[in-house]
Symmetry: D2
Subunit: 449 residues, 4 copies
């Protein structure tokens, strides 16, 4: 369909608006400082922000807070969060009153009142700061700082919870925008892909360009409050047949396939970009959305599958080292050779047992009835099924070290997502293919021999 | 400055995304219905939405809920809200536990836990619905329905509070975009101005065009979740000197002034567009933002003032009818004549006492130390000052009936907003001009005579 | 497919650029006028524009020329064109030399040199004026003026030929952009549709909105030099079965059909918007382009047809009034009754002979082996075929007067466009349907009886 | 000012349109080939394109021609251009007739008719090809090929003249768009900067990023027919005081200056991007346009100057080697040492004579009263003045070899452009600064001693 101008929103006004707000704010606060003779301090700025003055001075106060934070060094930042913890906590008297009322009346309104009363003042401070130009960016940056401090200052956890709560509300999936990323995407967005790629490092602009070629797709979620910042992105290769090796996928010299001739989309990498949004998950939405997009663009595709690492496999294997009954004693000896990947004999000897053990690891090893392996838990929880285990899937140093070269395909079939998910959610069942079942049977034979 | 492509975001992908999500959803749920043999009912859909299934089925469930609501008649809608009230209220046991823990430990974490526990399940349902394509639009529509039902069903108040709470969070000022509206704005946006103008009705497209002419400005806030829907808009006239009459401003035959020659911006109308966002205020931000924009665009402007109605004035006056000591007995007799506006003698006789009484009404009549008049309370609370009271400012039937033709200028001076606000906030002081002071003095003489 | 930012071009820079160019120009020429003491006159401005000074002063001179023209009254405009005719004609000496050289050498280069030498100086003036901000707009406006003057001043024809030649080159179909027009198109574009609709008048914004409804399509060509100005637009109705009556199509109360359920696209109106581009035809490209667009958007469509007037039919009929042998003498008597359309008996009596005569008129009446009827000539020349003749197709006063209510469907079948066109181009054959053939046979019987 | 949606045009429709046109074309021509049994050959395609069939088959034929060319190897391309030369030349009979008529009548119309008759058929072929999707791109590519062939096939010159003539008309400055290029420009545009930079090579993406930093500006002209292709771009550095060394400018480690604190804009590089547009000059327009843009964005700038090479200086110097009377015999000996740049004594000894000779070269050395040096001729012809000659301005190998390290500042002062230009145009006067005058005087002393 043709597009008219209607489909377009200009983000320029937003930037203009930000800068004029900032100007207005500066003006307002110059007045303020003129009167007091010294810059208002952070505590009083935050206090003003959440009282009626916030209404009157609007974004100007928010700017002041955010600007001040931007000038802070590490210890001042910690002090700021500690101030939020102690001075902007819940109003205990009000909460006690609300609880008392609720305990008497037990009605929905008084229950709700308990909720409002239990909301800390710092939540209102955070909401206030978001009004600043670039406020959303700053709130996310603050949380990134805070997560760093948390390790040494676990007492700040409640502050983090408040940040996380508000960010989760603002970054509701209904506000996210999916965009295709390609070689005509602005460079300032592309450089973030290079920076944030977490699974298979992007070496340079040439490597990036290969990943955005005609037989590739890359999609990201964006939020309107951060127009140039991808939140999460997924990289897809269009191929014929399932792909089992990431080195083959990333090989720049490989022939390109015409997208119309591909039958399979391989999701070979998914990376979060915002540390400050940790714990707010978008990946499950993104994958399904991209499946839907690709089905529309390329009706010739009939399989959607990941090519995923098994990050915990080798570590798990290690813990079984002494369980002599299970494995040929030669097994670990070969695995210990850092060069076994280049030794045809050893590789061949390892192939079958490693594959079988990996199947067992993914299907049977659980914690609280959920897979021990984080990646498996994510995709299976999304309703995917364990489709194929690939030998020599990732022969990089990291691939050998973490998963003995194994990569896994999880398959997304929109028509079965719900039933797969229900079997998983109710009984912990890991839906899997015939190949995996065969490996499991051999593994069982292996362990019971 | 020149703009490159970088400044632009395409909203098309968003729409495409919405429709493909919807397709994916339909597919998922067809599977679901195929299995159960009948469409899932609303309660179970909402339940699924807030459990782990919500994670797996994502936006598909949200679509199903939102679509189902769209088919409801009035009584089914009421039943839906009643279900949210009773079946998706707070988990009382969990809340009791959280309270008990808090009362023992009294620490921030357990206070916070009370807050989470006091959050009703329906808040999670509303968050879930927002994930649907057009979800934000639907949540606002639901609240508009709900506000209507509240009159007869006050017990639904807690449901409304939850809607209002989430909408206020999502429509945080930091996410709003200001856009200039003019004659090159898409017609589907412009028609909403005609529909929503609340102060001075827009008769037709010609009338609208006059209001978007070169000596006029119109700005609106938009939210990225509702790309074609203005939330609130303000209409501004660029003039020389303060304007005191709205009929003169709207006169299509009046000569246009070159914007560069104007010295004053008159804000003559501000209208909310979304009933479902009642109680979430944007007006104060919009006015200050527009002041900032105009100052940048037109440095020649040196005054920013409203031309505002005094909606409660005549009603207040009516209540003083029997206070014979205060007013000439002829006064009300003249005012009772519906045609006094066209009677030069009566008009002239009414002029002075009405102006004086209006000054007294605006400056002195208060409730809880705030002006009785809602419009005055809004602008003064924003830090404006009461600048001028205009006789024959609005000679429409409505103007005569509500305010005896009086219109008022509130002046916004960014440099004084904070001090004006503080005087108002602390002591209820209504900052005002010399003209108003003179009227007040005469009024005092009048009442003390 | 999802769209990234890449697919978008910002036209803002273009406007900014225009205004800064204008500023720069003013500055340059202020300098100029400062030195000479009086504004440079038009002849010298035009002379400078085409000499090396044009290089140095660039767009500034172009602005000066264009601005000066903008201030001209009618007689000054005529004088300007007469100056272009006489003072900026071809350089006769140079042309004579070039001819002499060519006649000696006869080689391609010297032939080309004749061409360059025969190019009038005024062509270079026009090219120069186009460099001004809004220059393309001004050149088109000038030609619109010129076409008006031509009637009284036929000697200006060579000036017009130069304008037409350059405009045809600039508005090469390769530079045109097709855009869909709908209710979310900017109002300043939509108002031009109301202004320019030439076939079936658009009464007001409600009428326009009906024509942009979900079961309608409207497309226009734009040129990048005139971003807000449609050049030509076509209005399409999506229907089931061929439509034969325009009043039925424009009826606001008629039920809307879901586009996916339509099987036929009716092109019921096509209008040029720029008088200054007279003689530069886009209509044939637009129709085929829209057929291609609609086929892509709505694969359910299987017929593409116009609903066209027969503007010359009644006039042609009139000339046969005295050819008594052919027609029943009652025929014209009935037709002369201005109310025959509302007289069931007369209408019924006229129906068959009028339809037959219309078929004969369209298929057989020719000038230089091309149809006498201009609309027929246009569509048949484009490769369409004459599909159906509709009685009571247009019962407006204009429809009765011009074509005795008849409207015609010309059918576009992309697969047959070339063969239809060739039959038409080579032999003047008017491809037509069975219905038309049947009418023709009766018509022949009629005339041979 | 805020921007609404109105300011934006979507280029997506254009691409969609291109592809659907192509589809339609394929369809049309499949019909054609179906009937003839073999693909139409190039000559007949070109013939059809310029006859009435071109009207009927529109862009489809253009696609066919352009696609066919795209498949040609070098010798087929040459054959194609030779065919254009011989088979699509001027119609000699028609031209002879037109000349005869003109020689009799001598009126403007018949002069014009000579022009039309002297227009070769190949011009119409080129205009026809431009109608194809991506047609403008293809026409430019063809000319690029043609320019290459011209060296060996000078007989093709008339074909090139026709291409050049039409391209100059289409790329009229009034159709060009200026855009700022920065780090948020799409990568597919940025990579073209790396590719085309002609003056100071861009090494990699980091080098590029430095040149797009906050204290730099880059602007390019684009044409709507080539939306992603810069035609020419200029790189500007914002500095304090005149810059005399390009290595200092490109130094990544140098401190960035806040644009608001800069007083001078240095245009240090300007590069054409389209070989196929050779001879169609945009540079003079671009420079002045950028001066205008920068003055608007940064009113603090008060000087606009180039930092330009003197490419012919060393070559000219070489030719004076034997003119012993003029120079110290040691002079050339030192200059012949390839390492003199690193030898403080030699450098110091060379400094003054080289600077003086360069001044003499630039101001006095002329051909036809225009500077011998191409860069000087360009800027002086644009109305700039020769401002400063910089020693050690470019110490790269190329800088030493071409200009003995000298770089030159040409200054653009909008208020003096016209007078500078006139002095230059009329008398060949090279306007210059005091520094240059002083050098000239010493040089004169030098040569007359």
């Amino acid at each position: 369909m043709l597009l008219g101008q209607r489909d377009i929103i200009d983000v320029t006004f937003f930037r203009n608006f930000l800068s004029s707000i900032a100007d207005a704010g500066r003006e307002l606060l110059e007045g303020r400082q003129g009167r007091t003779g010294k810059p208002a301090d952070m505590r009083s700025l935050c206090s003003d922000l959440i009282t009626q003055k916030g209404e009157a001075l609007g974004t100007a106060l928010a700017c002041a807070v955010v600007d001040a934070y931007g000038e802070f060094d590490e210890s001042e930042k910690v002090a700021f969060f500690e101030m939020l913890l102690t001075d902007f906590d819940v109003d205990r008297d009000a909460l006690a009153d609300a609880i008392a009322t609720y305990q008497k009346s037990q009605d929905p309104t008084s229950a709700q009142a308990v909720g409002w009363a239990a909301e800390s003042l710092r939540q209102r401070v955070i909401r206030g700061m978001n009004m600043a130009p670039n406020g959303t960016r700053m709130v996310i940056n603050m949380r990134e700082d805070l997560l760093r401090f948390l390790k040494d200052k676990p007492a700040l956890k409640p502050v983090d919870s408040d940040f996380a709560h508000l960010l989760a509300s603002w970054f509701n999936r209904g506000f996210l925008e999916i965009r295709r990323i390609d070689w005509s995407t602005p460079a300032n967005v592309l450089e973030k892909l290079i920076e944030y790629e977490a699974v298979h490092e992007i070496r340079d602009w040439d490597d990036l360009r290969r990943r955005l070629d005609s037989d590739r797709r890359c999609y990201a979620f964006f939020h309107p409050g951060l127009p140039d910042e991808p939140l999460i992105f997924v990289e897809v290769a269009l191929v014929r047949g399932l792909a089992g090796s990431v080195q083959a996928l990333l090989d720049d010299t490989a022939e390109r396939i015409a997208p119309k001739k591909a039958d399979t989309a391989i999701f070979y990498s998914i990376s979060n970009c915002q540390k400050g949004l940790r714990g707010i998950s978008f990946g499950n939405f993104l994958i399904k959305q991209v499946v839907a997009e690709l089905r529309k663009e390329l009706p010739n595709l009939n399989a959607f599958s990941t090519l995923s690492p098994v990050p915990g496999f080798r570590r798990w294997l290690e813990r079984r080292r002494d369980d002599a009954s299970l494995l040929n004693p030669e097994f670990f000896k070969m695995l210990d050779d850092p060069n076994w990947g280049h030794d045809a004999v050893k590789s061949e000897a390892l192939r079958q047992p490693v594959m079988e053990l990996c199947a067992a690891y993914l299907v049977n090893e659980k914690v609280k009835n959920r897979p021990l392996d984080g990646v498996a838990k994510f995709h299976l929880g999304n309703g995917a099924r364990l489709e194929r285990i690939n030998w020599m899937g990732d022969v990089s140093a990291k691939g050998i070290e973490e998963s003995a070269t194994v990569l896994v395909n999880y398959k997304y079939d929109l028509a079965k997502i719900e039933s797969n998910h229900e079997a998983f959610a109710n009984d912990g069942t890991v839906m899997h293919s015939k190949q995996v079942e065969t490996l499991l049977e051999s593994a069982r034979a292996l362990t019971t021999t």
